[in-house]
């Protein structure tokens, strides 16, 4: 399976928001901590609903969290 073309800056946003823990973010997004770990490691591309929930937690737009990595 090829790596996901969807990248994210969740880790940086967590630290920019008072060093929010993965568990805190998971609770606020109604997912497990394992899912946040997988997202940060680019091992999981979320649904649109989860992507919006994450962006809302950080108070930013969707494209401030997720980026589309075009093929070279």
């Amino acid at each position: 399976m090829s790596p996901s073309p969807i990248g994210n800056v969740i880790r940086r946003l967590r630290f920019d928001h008072g060093e929010m823990t993965q568990q805190d973010l998971a609770l606020r997004c109604q997912v497990t901590r394992q899912t946040i770990i997988a997202l940060e490691a680019d091992r999981y591309s979320p649904s649109l609903a989860l992507a919006f929930r994450i962006a809302r937690v950080f108070g930013v737009g969707l494209e401030d969290v997720f980026t589309w990595q075009e093929d070279p």
């Binding site: 497990t32 901590r33 091992r43």
Partner: protein
Amino acid sequence: MSNHQKTALFNLIVGLLILAGYLVLLALFDAKVAPVSFAFFALTALTPWLFKESVQDERERAITRRAGLIGGMTSYSFVVVTAMLIWALRFRADPPTIDVSVLPTLVMGACVVLLLTHSSAVLWFYRRPLDVGS
């Protein structure tokens, strides 16, 4: 490790225990005694008590769905191939009959295959990139 992974690991161990028990009983006794090892299946009923199952999130649901598909396909293939193999082997026998214990063993064997492949697939998918849209 999440409860979902712990449950899959527990089920994998139970599946291997059943398989090992079957082979040991087959070696020590015979094919009529070996199915006793299927009693270990009862251990899988403990998983909700051992690992308090919480509501799955979207990634866990996607993993469960895909692992279920792999488990179902493998176990179905096992039943079809084994049943046809038994039929082919007994077709020319005289009399062309099969032992009464074959059918329940085949059914329980399919359940063991399902348990092993489903739990292995769950653990495997946790380590793989996953895209809910794909």
